[in-house]
Amino acid sequence: MAQTVLHKANTRGHASHGWLNSYHSFSFSSYYNPERMNFGALRVLNDDTVDAGMGFGKHPHDNMEIISIPLEGDLEHKDSMNNVAVIKNGDIQAMSAGTGIYHSEYNADRTAPVKFLQIWVYPNKRNVEPRYDQITLNLEDRHNKLQQILSPNAGDAGVWIHQNAWFHLGKFDQGINTEYKIKSAGNGVYIFVLSGDVKINNQLLNTRDGYGIWDTEKFTITAETDAEFLLMEVPMKF
């Protein structure tokens, strides 16, 4: 029988630093909730809004797979591997921090805020060589179907990371439904609703709600309204 966990949007941790408004689905920085540490290998799901021209100065990371998905606006990235890039809505960025990197992230726009998800997944191997990847996705490929945006395989659709994980985005019209089949036994899926209302089996989710489901082989997704959502399949034991 499937096991589930529901994280309503208004129960997330929240930090407001003036230039940064961040909602944490799991314990992060000064938000510590022992009941909200992770969902399997998914450790961080931050829903960030950064003021125009502001951002995160140079800071380090190691041993973490870090995925950034811009939702609105442009995010400028610079790192110690000499990557300089701007990621925008429709792009996805993946970074394996491995043995250690430095990077900065700034809102490239001087007038409008940037909104983006920052997602951290525990790697399946410590101390890998740091790497960076960024691609532009075709937004039509998620209209009323699931678009794979991340996998463990370099030759597969989307970016890849050092973990047995698959991410999909969907932008469904009201009434559209589909079935998701777990790709790897022992994995679970954390669903995060970007906008609208979605049902996972019989569980109704609203904007920015999170819902984990595991010990199941499949589940159904139904758009109760026009809706956008992110599915993150990750190992529950890692």
């Binding site: 920085s29 800071h59 380090p60 041993n63 973490m64 921090a97 043995t99 250690g100």
Partner: protein, 101 residues
């Protein structure tokens, strides 16, 4: 009340300094750092550490040797594998370790 002593080990000097700075932001904690295994063991045996953070770049074999050496010296020491590099996970990792989770 005396501070909780925490030893952070990380091969990357700048990340180690970040970890130490962040740990020391908590007034109840005091961090020491080491880059090499020799330095780590010498530091560990010089004062009573409650918790050890194993950061990036430590090879698997060395990590096992360090854990064995620390446990031999102090069986109650809490050893935590640190992920993220002096990041937003650090406090939660330490709290979890101290709470025995």
């Amino acid at each position: 009340m005396s501070k909780i002593q925490i030893l952070a080990i990380c091969r990357h000097p700048e990340i180690l300094q970040t970890i130490i700075r962040l740990v020391n932001n908590n007034p109840d904690w005091n961090a020491s750092g080491a880059i090499t295994d020799e330095e780590a063991i010498a530091t560990f045996t010089s004062q009573p550490f409650k918790l050890v953070l194993l950061g990036s770049g430590i090879e698997q074999d060395n990590e096992e040797k360090l854990k064995a050496a620390f446990k031999a010296h102090n069986p109650d020491v809490i050893i935590v594998e640190h992920y993220g590099g002096g990041s937003g996970l650090l406090f939660a990792e330490i709290f979890q370790g101290l709470e025995g989770r």
